[in-house]
């Protein structure tokens, strides 16, 4: 933290960022409350139960990390998809690199514009879902984001949206500390897809608040940036109404530290939610999925499917929870977390929790960890497939259960190609 002028590390954390452009009264009130909330809970530390496996020191550090920008020659992910493109460079919205903020079935604006409006629907969502998600576990980086983020988009889907909204996070500066905050509302019967890709900053902190009304559908697909030493701390806070649909999938390939928090509150009956992820890490890499799904309505289904492939000392963390509240009968909760360790130096640390207060439920979780199965490898090799290639086939097959959670087949194929690409580059 280094800076002696602050009384405590949390103040230093807040002081790291410039104040955003001033918004209207309601927005400033929300920001002020978030600031107080951040100071109240303090910075994340190793002694916090949900930071026991991931050291938050580099996320808390006052100095912005210097991260080399990865130059890629391959076709960027989601390139072939027709989309509404919105670009952020080092965490700042770039109108030049973005499409017009309009689309069929969509109301869309920047966060700055929405927060300066005196009356805006976003006031019911901005900072509200994040606050709900602070209990029972504190998420200080999310509160900090609400307090200080000036960049992001505010999207309201009112009907069937013809093409996905793609949020692209580019980098030009080797040192940048970005706070991005998106507010999304999917109205009753509407259907919205969001694509996200890129590293965005040398240290990125994002919050996406998603309010899905009764009968709404939300699809989220994300490919996090591969810049080797970048740090990322992301949050999704979702509130799901009755008969709604929520799907989120994240692909993470390299990066020094990634912490993805997903907090879902199912408040209406007959809802389906799925959160999935595939991650591949080689070397100095830590990837942490912390998922918290609360069932507070009857007859809902939730799925958590996370797969990690780790080598050369990479660490995978999974902390997942299904909380079934009293009265949330007929809940079907499923959770699986698995890791494939390609060598003896890699680690998998998992805490898959169930907390259940209703009796007519079927909840299960499974978690496994181990090496590539030698018998299967032998089988493939005996069919003339070289060992390294056989191993890659097994890696891709292992991750496929998570990929299958993606509804759009074309996008799933795009993700599969990226996995194979990684396996080829990191062969042997």
């Amino acid at each position: 933290m280094g800076e002696a002028k602050f009384d405590n590390p949390t103040e230093a954390l807040l002081a790291r960022h410039n104040a955003p452009r001033k918004g209207s009264d309601w927005a400033e009130r929300t920001r002020h409350a978030a600031r107080e909330r951040t100071l109240g809970m303090g910075a994340a530390g190793r002694r916090d139960e949900y930071w026991r496996y991931t050291n938050p020191t580099s996320l808390n550090a006052f100095e912005t990390p210097d991260v080399e920008i990865l130059q890629l020659e391959e076709v960027p992910v989601f390139d072939g998809v027709e989309k509404l493109l919105i670009t952020f460079v080092d965490g700042v919205y770039s109108p030049e690199l973005s499409d017009d903020l309009s689309g069929e079935g969509l109301e869309i604006s920047t966060l700055e514009d929405a927060l300066s409006a005196d009356i805006h629907w976003a006031s019911d969502v901005f900072g509200v879902l994040e606050t709900n998600g602070q209990s029972p576990v504190n998420r200080p980086f999310a509160a900090l984001n609400t307090a200080l983020a000036g960049q992001g988009v505010v999207i309201r889907a009112t009907g069937k949206v013809s093409k996905p909204v793609a949020l692209r996070y580019c980098r030009e500066n080797t040192t940048s500390d970005a706070l991005i905050h998106h507010v999304i509302r999917v109205e009753s019967g509407a259907d919205l897809s969001i694509l996200e890709n890129g590293a965005g900053a040398s240290r990125l902190n994002t919050v996406m608040e998603v309010d899905v009304a009764d009968g709404g559908s939300f699809h989220h697909l994300r490919a996090q940036g591969r810049d080797h030493t970048r740090l990322a701390m992301t949050h999704i806070f979702a509130r799901l109404g009755a008969e709604s649909h929520f799907k989120s999938f994240t692909l993470t390939v390299n990066g020094r530290l990634t912490r993805n928090d997903v907090v879902i509150d199912i408040v209406g009956g007959n809802t389906k939610a799925s959160v999935a992820g595939a991650c591949l890490g080689d070397g100095d890499f830590l990837h942490d999925d912390t998922i918290f799904i609360t069932h507070d309505a009857v007859n809902c289904e939730s799925r958590q499917v996370f797969k990690k492939v780790l080598k050369n000392g990479a660490t995978g963390v999974f902390q997942g929870k299904i909380l079934v509240k009293t009265g949330a009968q007929k809940t079907d909760g499923y959770q699986i977390s698995q890791a494939l360790l390609l060598d003896d130096d890699s680690n998998f640390l998992a805490k898959p929790e169930l907390e259940i207060y209703a009796d007519d439920v079927a909840c299960s979780h499974g978690s496994t960890c181990g090496a590539v199965d030698e018998n299967s490898l032998f089988y493939l090799m005996s069919r003339g497939i070289p060992r390294a290639e056989a191993q890659n086939m097994m890696i891709v097959a292992f991750l496929d259960e998570a990929i299958q959670e993606i509804e759009n087949e074309a996008l799933a194929e795009d993700i599969r190609a990226r996995l194979l690409g990684w396996a080829e580059r990191h062969k042997g």
Binding site: Q329, K351, E353, I356, D360
Partner: protein, 502 residues
């Protein structure tokens, strides 16, 4: 047990009230023995620690050990991470030492023990005579012997079969006797598995433990009979702090059972025990517990707070330990029998059934620390929750980088009976090499309506049917218990769930 029926259960018709009332009475061991007691003054301070030490005629080093634990304890705070809620315990409002007056002069043999005490144990089904079998067990093999150490409040009343065991080289006695008669063994091993600094309750225990059992099985000896300790809390406002130490030398083998009960009282009583197991090369300890402390009544009044630290250290290669526990009693249970698998190829197993009914709360599980190569562990935990009870499995499996080729299998299943209770699973899995494998499975479900219907059709009452289904659910664990306990445990499962069916 449809929602409708459960709502009906909450109604206030007379029949329901009567049915619920009988539940509290079902605790068979709730009687108190009227016996003259000698107490240490209430509360805990250095003088009380000195007093307990002097009552046991302990050497100076033991007192110093206790005092240093006490000084540390004063600086510690109670752990809050478990999913249990109870009013703050006033640690100064407890008697830390209570012994029957007839025990002031230690009886020379069981024949000299106060008949009232013997009667108490007889009533509990644990006759302290050197007879072949525990009472009430039918159909057990002829000639099976069980040696018993009976602990009554703060002191050991007597230990059976000591002579026969001594002939085999086995030392089985109370902890206080061991400190006097085998100080070199106690000094060498006490606190080496659960250090006095381990946790709040273990540290308190280290300071004020009054008695407990001590077992030493020399190299190559297979203990000729089952050993058991029966813990009884009788005195009011008294905490029981016992300490058990079992050492199995190279190639030794022993099966140890532990049972516990307490009278029905409106006050909560504290039980904070420490159990240490030391297992050398090729040795094998099987440790079984049937915990049936008074659970409190249906409104959560009274009952034992059971805060126990149990740990086994597999020091030698191929050492083996098996923990089996049936937890049906206590108002609050906080207990994690653990295994440190230090020796190569050592093995740890943990089988648990935890049943909570009414207002009971249990937060229990295990830790498997894999340090040696090719170490194996297996965890089977069955949690059953009824009434308004909360039942949590909390466990850690940690495979260290050097513990290559290790293996863990964990299964934890929860069964919910009624819609007012909770079942929770909090496993931690840490795998730090790739030649090891961890597998974890957990499920939560309710008693299957179809199974229930099937049993009801065959003329069973609903309660009988639930007991049968639950016994089936818990079979894997019940089977790993020694026979005497398996029978008792099966009956306990049925009793604990009585009144839980709408």
């Amino acid at each position: 047990m449809s929602t409708q029926e459960s709502i009906a259960k909450d109604g206030v018709d007379a029949e329901t009230v009567d049915a619920v009332k009988t539940v509290g009475e079902k605790y068979k061991y709730g009687f108190a023995t009227d016996i003259e007691m000698e107490y240490a003054p209430k509360g805990v301070n250095e003088d009380i620690v000195r007093l307990i030490s002097s009552k046991n005629d302990e050497p100076e080093w033991m007192l110093e050990w206790r005092l240093s634990a006490f000084r540390r304890w004063e600086k510690m705070t109670e752990p809050k991470w478990a999913m249990v809620n109870y009013p703050e315990i006033d640690f100064q409002d407890i008697y830390y030492y209570a012994r029957p007056k007839s025990m002031i002069e230690k009886p020379k043999s069981l024949d000299d023990v106060d008949p009232k005490l013997l009667e108490t144990y007889k009533k509990l089904g644990i006759p302290l005579a050197e007879q072949a079998l525990l009472a009430g067990v039918e159909g057990a093999e002829e000639g099976r012997k069980v040696a018993v150490d009976a602990v009554f409040d703060s002191v050991s009343v007597g230990t059976t079969f000591q002579k026969e065991l001594a002939e085999a080289g086995v030392i089985f006695c109370s902890m206080s006797e061991a400190i006097k008669d085998h100080p070199e063994l106690v000094k060498k091993y006490i606190g080496t598995v659960v250090p006095p600094t381990d946790n709040y309750y273990a540290t308190l225990n280290s300071a004020v433990f009054s008695d407990g059992s001590f077992v030493y099985i020399p190299e190559g000896v297979k203990c000729p009979m089952e050993l058991s300790t029966y813990f009884r809390i009788n005195a009011e406002n008294t905490g029981q702090f016992e300490r058990t130490l079992i050492i199995a030398e190279k190639g030794a083998k022993v099966s140890y059972l532990e049972g516990c009960t307490a009278p029905m009282r409106d006050e909560n009583q504290l039980h904070a025990a420490v159990v240490e197991l030391i297992i050398q090369e090729d040795a094998d300890i099987k440790y079984s517990t049937v915990q049936n402390w008074y659970p409190g009544d249906e409104n959560g009044v009274g009952g034992i707070y059971n805060f126990v630290t149990k740990r086994a250290d597999c020091r030698g290669d191929r050492a083996k330990v098996m923990w089996t526990q049936v937890e049906t009693g206590s108002a609050v249970t906080w207990k994690y029998p653990s295994c440190i698998l230090r020796g190569d190829d050592s093995q740890g197993e943990f089988y648990s059934i935890a049943i909570t009914n009414n207002m009971q709360q249990a937060d229990t599980g295990t830790k498997m620390i894999h340090l040696g190569k090719r170490t194996k562990s297996r965890i089977v935990s069955k949690g059953i929750s009824a009434g308004k009870a909360q039942n949590t499995y909390r466990g850690l499996v940690s495979i260290h980088p050097k513990a290559t080729g290790s293996r863990n299998y964990t299964q934890c299943d929860s069964l919910l009976i009624g819609d007012q209770c909770g079942a929770h699973t909090v496993p931690y899995m840490e795998c730090r090499n790739n030649s090891s494998r961890i597998e974890h499975e957990a499920t939560t479900s309710k008693v299957d309506e179809e199974q229930l219907f099937y049993c009801r059709q065959r003329g069973m009452t609903e309660e009988e049917a639930v007991a049968l289904i639950v016994n089936g659910f818990a079979k894997e664990v019940l089977q790993s218990l020694p026979m005497e306990f398996a029978m008792e445990a099966q009956k306990l499962v049925a009793i604990s769930l009585e009144g839980s069916v709408g």
